[in-house]
Amino acid sequence: MSEQSAPRLLLQAEGLKLHFGGIIAADGINLSLYDGEHLAIIGPNGAGKTTFLNICTGYLRPQGGYVRFENREITAHPPRDITRLGIARAFQIPQLFAEQTVLENMLLAASVRERHWNPLRNLHAIPERREMEELLELVGCSDVRDRVASELPEGKRKLADIAIALALKPRVLLMDEPTSGVASADKFDVMETLMNALRKAKVSSVFVEHDMEMVSRYATRVAVWAQGKIQTTGKPDVVLNDPEVIRNVIGG
């Protein structure tokens, strides 16, 4: 059990390097995520934010450095293995099972989590169904529960994508611009609900975000990305008031 004073180290990246041709996507990234943190990643487009998430989840293999999760080396492990260890991901462009209903998307995730592989049991008959319905309720997707995923409006797709990640009961949730695509009037409501859900489920998170208001409200720490490097990290109120950060990232 982790002590209140010294939170447990969950995710640790050290010396991550990755170049695509001439583009530097990661150039010595060091970053740690502790239990209970909600870390926001900010920075201009092309700074390598998404690349960082891709490396952490094994989608890309770094040319140097390593990633650890709960003191376990996971560098370039297949995404499915990393997911099973407890790192879930939500995407900038929602990744849904387009042919199936939102509920079925959830049930499939739950089946994987619980390893329900009996080929004779109906997907809808798994015991986690109730739980998944509640989760959809929580993220505000109950109304589209039985709609085919490909038919959803963008905002709902985004939420469904996050719900799928949550369905996996992760320790850490990586989110790439979680509220982009959600109507701006709803953004804060959605994020509020989402963060409450994360807190309730004791899930730590990393989220890439462009909205500084959002960052200052929900992040416990901020990391500023620039050209494949972390420019600075710290508490939101400190970092967001750093003149250099304002000039490079926020002011723009």
């Binding site: 891709n54 989608y59 995407f91 462009i93 990744q95």
Partner: protein
Amino acid sequence: MTLNFAVLALLDGIAYASLLFLVAVGLTLIFGVLGILNIAHGSLYAIGAYVAATLGQWLVANGYNPWLTFPALFAGATIVGIVLGGLLERLLLQRIYAKDEILQLLVTFAVFMILENLQRMIWGVQPYFMSTPLNLLGNVSFFGINYTAYQVLFLPAAAIVVLFALRHFLRHTSMGAQILAVTEDREAATSIGINATRVYFMTFVIGACFAALGGALATPTTSLVTGMGANMIVLSFAVAATAGLGQIEGAAISALMIGIARAFAVYLSPELEVIMPYLIMVLVLLIKPNGLFGKVTARKI
């Protein structure tokens, strides 16, 4: 002896590879541009052969100069390519470009079945011969072994001419440049105003002409029977897939590989002859899923 024998196998292989290339290059060109793997290509090959044979036989039977059978081979192929290929593209393929690739494949399979059937209705089920061009050119000798000049000189020459003409066409003409542009990036090409409809049509007709030409040029070396299209299409799949779908020069190299491997098998272990093309295809695809010269594309998330 071993060297001689290797040279002999090589000659046989090259003769065979020339025909394979002619058919496969059309297939791979069409795939490169239209993204359709055209199973009916095999039927175009067979019909090209039948039309060329019919024309040739008619010329000979009516007492025309037998050398006219040479232009008849090319004329037959061109007619089949333009008429049948053009009709197919205009009437059918145009309707399916937006469809899933599986459905496209099946449509071409359906066309294949239809054409196989029509072929039997038109030319019957008994074998056809027309070896006049082969007889006219006579034999040439290597190491005391007679080869028909048609097979070891004319066919490879035809294949080489086709290869270079095609390269020239693609690199140095406006239509060719448009075709290449569409092959590289369909969306970008159409966005800069290239008329994709026209490009598709031209490409398909050219590809169909090559298939028919392969059949026409094969005519003098073989007897035409039903089912020849089915055998040829799967062989040219093997050539095209081994090279990497859409690779034109690659198709020439893999046709040579397969042709020569097959010829060596006849000398060393005849039982392996039939298996060679597919064995090569399996091995290459297992190691390089996109073929020897194919490009790998990664998905961005």
